[in-house]
Every structure is written in structure tokens, then in C-alpha cells.
Subunit: 206 residues, 2 copies
């Protein structure tokens, strides 16, 4: 096996290092976060760090690095208190990834890609039309991770839309049936194939 | 599309709700965390919340819910300051998932499954033998998320082992080539197939 100790990692060439360390945690969620500024400028940006924090209340989190691009998302969600999370599916991977480019705030990524805005009910932030899972999110708190100077953004689910075809009787959203993508590292996309559903595990009798 | 507002979610039957909210964030990492108590009892447990926090220093985090099972991992990593992260691959999914059963501390999941302990160099905590990615981790800090009463455990990578066959020239670990699994919800496993590697995105000329 290839081996890297901490000193090796710290001394790696910059792009090799970010590819390596971004891909070593395993497969990541592939989401588009939709938001709108108080002036009405929309934004949509790819994120790969959305993580389940709890079901009661229904809470998700994502990581924001001060030094990376998608800061309009953060500015907008702080201004309005809301944003959307939309799953990336196979057909839109290239447009979804392009939202990582750094556009000035007045140019919406919805204008420069084929991704389409969708508004539902009274919710202020734009959803991504066609996404098999769409969530209306309310900002709750942001927590500083001092050792690494990143922020954990915590938000609760206000509304959840799921394609009927992938919602199962037990509440599982079968993501593979929706051709939903996963992100590997910074720029690599994969499409998972369903393998098996197991059950709640109890200790074996010995 | 199926629609749930916050009131609908809060009123869902318990198991339907945890399936739904655990699967709505997207695909998750599939890892086995290996640890050892100060008395020498080993533990290995499945986690689906390991997330990249940064590359400089190389930092990962995971979420610990006080009310869920794998607390021996937490006790051990606080006692010794170290643990391992090992990727779950296709051949070991059933044994990996079985580690979510609640065993008393003196019964190691390495004994009741076919997962095998592996020790490397002077690192105290056990790795999972055969895993295509293995990491020696040093505990750094734990951060309370008050709104939801969960903890973000922050750790740095001390040593990284990667199967040579899946480590690419640009530093990408091609997880799909290692038949590495992803978790969908609480108990469903999928195997991603490589789709495409894109590049660093710059704004389009307009």
C-alpha cells in the first residue's frame, strides 16, 4: 500500500495534497445549495459536506471553509435565514460542478448553466427544478472549529420534497433509484448502484 | 412529489422518520472506526458521518449522538487519544453493518465478525485488515452542537495507507476502483460506479 505519514502529507505538492485528503474520507453527498440575497440575486453552489446531524428535530449540517469559493451561499443564508438543498442527479453533473466557479454576486449560476430555478409555496429561496430530493432549510446556528478554522453550519428541515418513485414504505429514500450522484474528492462523480438493505442489528447469541 | 412540512416530519412514526431523515442528506461515507481501551479491549464500529474538514492540517470530523450505540469508540478515543478509520468495501458489508449491534465493552466486534484486526508500526489502535484505505487518527477536539445535542469529533490524520491500485497520479483516491461502499440512510449500502472526473472550474466568458 502507498503510505503517507503526517510529515509526508504536510510536504506534498498543494494540488496532490488537496486531491488526496479530499478523497480519503470516503464518498460524499452531492448537493446544490440554492439561496437568494436580500436584493434578490439568486445563487446555486455545489457542496459535498452536507451531513445528517439528527432527526428530532430534523437537522443537517455542512462545512464552510473561509478560504473557498461558495461564500455567496453563506452571505445569503445569513441575510434571509433560509436556503435549499437539492440532490445532484446523473443528468446535471457537469452543470452542477460548474457552479464551483467563482462568479460575482450579481451573476446567478442559474443564468450561466442549464440548472433551472423553481419556487414552491411561500419559500423564499430557489430550489433546483427536477432534483429528486429538494429541501427547504432554516438556518439555526454556526459553530467554529478552532483547530482548523472552518465553520459547521447547522440548519433544520422546514419542508421536504421527494420523488414518489424513490420513497419506500419504511421511509427510506432509495437514492440509487433516483440516479443520485456521490462526490469522490474535489471533482470526481460516481453513481451508486443499490447493493443491499440490512436491518437493525442485535448482538449474536453466544 | 411526496411532501412533508416540519409538522408532518415531527409527527411521523419513529422508524419511518429516522429512515426518512437519515436518507435525505444524500450518500454518506461508509467507515469502520477501530479503537482500543486503556485495558486493551478492542472495538470496531460502523460510522456514516466522517467528513472532510480540511487538508492543512489534514483534518476529518464525525458526528456522535449521545443517544446512539457506538459509545465505546468515543470512550476509547478519549482514553488513548487515537483511533483508526477504515473504508468499508463490498466484500465486508454484512460484517461491517453488524458492528452497529450493542455489545458490552469486553466483547470485541473483531471476535464476533470476520473482520480482522491489523496493527501497523507503533500505532496503538487496530486497523481493519484488507481495507483499501486505512488512516491512523489523532483526536484533536470535540465540539457541542447545542441546537441538536450532538458532538462533532475533530481528528487529524497521522498516517494514511492507500491501496496502490486506486491512488491516481493527481492524488485522487479513486474509491469506485476499490469497490468501496457508500451508506444510504441507516441500513442500506450501495456501490458507486465511476462516472467522470471534471476539472477546476473557472467562470465562462460572456
Amino acid at each position: 500500500m502507498a503510505f503517507f505519514n503526517r510529515k509526508d502529507i504536510d510536504e506534498l505538492e498543494k494540488y496532490y495534497k488537496i486531491n488526496l485528503i479530499n478523497s480519503c474520507s470516503g464518498f460524499k453527498s452531492a448537493n446544490l445549495l440554492g439561496s437568494i440575497s436580500k436584493e434578490g440575486n439568486t445563487n446555486v453552489a455545489v457542496f459535498s459536506s452536507v451531513t445528517h446531524l439528527g432527526s428530532k428535530p430534523p437537522t443537517l449540517g455542512f462545512i464552510l471553509r473561509p478560504t473557498t469559493v461558495p461564500r455567496n451561499t453563506h452571505k445569503n443564508l445569513k441575510e434571509t435565514g433560509v436556503f435549499t438543498i437539492n440532490h445532484i442527479w446523473e443528468d446535471v453533473i457537469e452543470d452542477a460542478h460548474h457552479t464551483s466557479a467563482s462568479y460575482p454576486e450579481h451573476i446567478s449560476e442559474f443564468k450561466v448553466t442549464n440548472l433551472e430555478e423553481e419556487y414552491k409555496g411561500n419559500f423564499k429561496a430557489p430550489f433546483v427544478k427536477g432534483a429528486p430530493v429538494q429541501m427547504a432549510m432554516k438556518f439555526v446556528e454556526e459553530i467554529h472549529v478552532a483547530s482548523n478554522n472552518v465553520w459547521l453550519i447547522v440548519a433544520q428541515i422546514e419542508e421536504l420534497y421527494v420523488d414518489d418513485k424513490i420513497l419506500k414504505e419504511d421511509g427510506l429514500i432509495n437514492l440509487a433509484e433516483g440516479n443520485i450522484a456521490t462526490i469522490n474528492g474535489l471533482d470526481t462523480y460516481a453513481i451508486p448502484k443499490f447493493k443491499q438493505q440490512l436491518s437493525y442489528q442485535r448482538p449474536k447469541k453466544m
